[in-house]
């Protein structure tokens, strides 16, 4: 198992049991998730890989409390988030989401954005929160940008600030929904290194959705490959590359072997999803 | 029909909407009668005729030829002004968009004249044009013209440059670029402009009919219908006139939507 910092003993353990989600938007039932179970240990980086539109996001949304689930249950540290009799989890700062398109409030500066959480939760006074936000942003290498609006900085910087905004609340779990999707490979690389550095510092549990295989292996402790819709667990691959990892890791022989393994599992699903997508359009 | 009813009552939004309108009519009724019942006037709407009286008045005017003649008169004014504005406005806007020199010379005067409210032109045009009818047509034209030009200009200048480049590298001539790319690319804004322009046109026609007293030569119009009801002190007929104009305006803007739908098949698919 990867090296963990000691302060995160038993924190952010997620257990997903037999979760099923059926949508009914137009009278036609669509099954997004079908009897999906997985266990995520506290302080683990769990990567979910699967074709787009396969229901991965549904899983994340039900953990975060945006969607209800139809069957099954989800527990966090033994506490029921949602399950029988309680279809929808409540939203809470212990489970922070970083969104696909970025959801820093464009009308607040980076510092105000980061300070927002503690302020509205009344965990700190406004000025304390602003101070702390300033420090945390500076630690993330954004010190000279704290008074800028998100629209003024590059997407990479905005994404870093968004992760800082999540972390200032000391969440148990960080839920990331393809946060680096729109970035080019080189920017992504830098973002990965920065996220790993953050992880090594905080040891927060990370639930990360992606369909970039290299990203999955480079960041993760475990890679869960899921099938195309409805979303089911197809294969779990343990990544035993030691931390801290650097960009050289990505050209190691070990990495290459894992990539072959994941690639085979995913490619089949990708072709299936692609064909299904074409059929749906026609 | 059942389909329509189902759509209306089948969901919460529909039920709430219908009940809101019913409540609105009840308040209208109560408000108009309150003075009679209790002696207290509710916020000055005590003078408004109750809905039932309006309905009766409506039934009263429907068989009259004069009422329908006012529809015809107003509609023909609106359509004349509007069509002339389209015919002149669209090429003018496109020219402003594609030719830099044309824009440089003609855009500033256009911008200077644009903020003057169309109705402020009414007396001047009454003086200038030989007949009342022509001056109403002119002001109507002005009302729609500015809106249409601004929309056409904005739309044409916002066309994605990559369409132009793609067409160019496939060997399209300037002529083709204009007819195959610029014009269809501007269509959505043309229709937006037309819809807004149509609204303004109705306002202007009404005002012009009221101010010029419409009836003398032009044969009334809905604006004059309201105005003469006002002069005659028939409150029910005023409200009937208002509703009629509401319907007329609604009909003309849905006509524009229909036409737009027909001309822009690729926009239906959103």
């Amino acid at each position: 198992m990867a090296k963990k910092t000691s302060k995160t003993a038993k924190k952010g353990e997620i257990s997903i049991k037999n979760v099923t989600k059926v949508y009914d938007p137009t009278g036609v039932n669509v099954m997004a998730v079908d009897n999906c179970s997985m266990e995520i240990a506290g302080g683990e980086v769990c990567m979910i890989v699967g074709p787009s539109g396969c229901g991965k996001t549904t899983l994340l949304n039900s953990i975060a409390g945006f969607h209800s689930i139809t069957e099954g249950s989800i527990h966090l540290d033994g506490e029921l988030l949602c399950g029988p009799g309680k279809p929808k989890a409540e939203q809470s700062a212990e489970r922070m989401v970083v969104f696909q398109h970025g959801a820093l409030f464009p009308w607040k500066t980076l510092q105000e954005n980061v300070a927002y959480g503690p302020t509205v939760q009344k965990a700190m006074s406004a000025s304390e929160a602003m101070d702390k936000a300033g420090h945390m942003l500076a630690d993330a290498g954004l010190g000279s940008f704290i008074t800028k609006f998100p629209g003024e900085v590059s997407s990479g910087m905005a994404r870093r600030a968004e992760i800082v905004r999540a972390l200032i609340n000391n969440p148990k779990v960080l839920l990331l929904d393809e946060p680096y999707r729109a970035m080019d490979a080189l920017t992504k690389q830098i973002m990965h290194e920065s996220l790993l550095e953050t992880y090594d510092r905080t040891g927060v549990t990370i639930f990360f959705i992606t369909h970039d295989l290299e990203e999955a292996i480079f960041l993760g402790d475990k890679v869960h490959v899921v099938t195309t819709r409805p979303c089911q667990l197809k294969k779990t691959i343990e990544v035993k590359i030691p931390r801290p990892r650097s960009f050289e890791t990505q050209s190691s022989e070990e990495f290459r072997k894992l990539l072959v393994e994941v690639n085979d599992a995913v490619h089949e699903e990708a072709v299936k999803a692609f064909k299904a997508g074409e059929r749906e359009m026609a | 029909m059942t389909n329509f009813l189902q759509k209306l009552f089948g969901n919460t939004t529909g039920r709430r909407g219908v009940s809101a309108i019913i409540v609105f009519v009840i308040i209208w009724h109560v408000g108009s009668q309150l003075d009679e019942w209790t002696g207290y006037d509710m916020l000055g709407i005590g003078l408004v005729p109750p809905p039932a009286d309006v309905f009766v008045a409506f039934l009263g005017v429907v068989p009259k030829v004069g009422y329908w003649m006012s529809w015809v008169a107003s509609f023909s004014r609106v359509i004349t002004g509007f069509i002339v504005a389209m015919i002149i406005g669209i090429p003018f806007g496109l020219l402003l968009a594609v030719n830099r020199y044309f824009r440089g010379v003609f855009f500033p005067p256009f911008e200077i004249l644009r903020p003057i409210p169309p109705l402020a032109w009414v007396p001047a045009s009454l003086i200038f044009w030989p007949t009342n009818e022509m001056s109403i047509a002119f002001v109507t034209f002005l009302g729609a013209f500015f809106t249409i030009v601004i929309n056409v200009l904005g739309g044409a200048r916002n066309i994605d440059i990559s369409y132009l480049r793609a067409a160019q590298s496939m060997g399209a001539s300037q002529f083709d670029l204009f007819w195959k790319i610029v014009l269809p690319g501007t269509l959505p804004s043309i229709f937006t402009g037309a819809a807004v322009g149509m609204g303004i046109t109705w306002e202007v026609v009404l005002a012009a009919e009221m101010i010029s007293g419409g009836g003398t030569q032009g044969g009334g119009g809905l604006g004059f219908f309201i105005w003469s009801s006002y002069m005659g002190g028939s409150l029910e007929q005023i409200v009937v006139g208002m509703i009629s104009i509401g319907i007329a305006g609604y009909l003309s803007s849905s006509a524009i939507r229909k036409i737009g739908y027909h001309f822009m098949p690729w926009r239906r698919l959103f």
Binding site: G65, A93, M96, V97, F99, H101, A103, F105, W107, K108, Y116, V120, Q121, F149, P150, G151, E152, N169 | T12, G17, V18, A20, I21, G44, L47, Y101, R103, G104, V105, F106, F107, P108, P109, I112, P115, I116, P117, L119, A120, W121, V122, P123, A124, I127, F128, W202, E203, L206, A207, I211, G223, W227, S229, Y230, L235, G241, M242, I245, G246, G249
Partner: protein, 290 residues
Amino acid sequence: MSNAANTRISEPQGIDMVFYRIKKNFTSVDPYLTVFGIFLWLFAYWVLCEGLQIWRFSKLPGPVAISKDWFAFEPFQGISIFTQEYYEHIRVSCQRILIAFGLATGLGVPLGLFMGWSRKVRDYVFPIIETLRPIPILAWVPLSILLLPGFEGPVIFLATLASFFVTALNAMLGVDSIDEEYFRAAGCLGSSKWDVFKNVVVPGALPFIFTGLQISIGVAWFSLVAAEMVSGDLGLGYLIVDAYMNNVTVPMVIAMITLGFIGYFSSGCVRALGNKLMAWHVKELAQQGR
């Protein structure tokens, strides 16, 4: 061939930047075209109305006649920049617009925001607004004259009504335009309902609100002029009709031009206020090169 690729020019600062922009502006053909265009237009106007006096153009006052009267101590036809009356009309119109626009904004923006934010409010209020909206504002003129007392009441009512619809609808669309993810993010961060309204709904809808306000002030002027023309005792719209009735054409045109200026100025004010309140939006657009 230029050597631009190899030379480095440092970015001009402060006043130098201003000079640079001015210089750059005047090396292009645009400002000359503008001057030429305005001159051409004035010249055509002069030729038609005063030079040749062809057809019915002779009935309209030309630019020379207008400017002579406008800037005269003792204007021939009653109105100039030195007469008290001129400013009185302007004052009255502006005062009415301020009241109407203020009322419409004060009522329309909150109503629109609530319509966008709460499904329930929208379901109940929106159908009523949609039923009333197709009725052109001017169709309300006789009714409002009958129902509301005095000259001020109807005029202000009409201008308010016109801009109220525009403002409320745009505020509602503004809330619709806010990405769902911002609401979710705010929820995750532990916001109360009120926090969401204050920190997401209001700022997120601002760009649309200000687009709406810009249109709304134009519409307010439009209806105000109409209302003043039909019923009124003072104001620029009244001045136009009054001049027409008294067969003096110069004050009529002066009032028209004045309306144009004030209308332009007032929408400029709304725009400036919007840009001040939405620094983030302006900077974002600038970043995208727009």
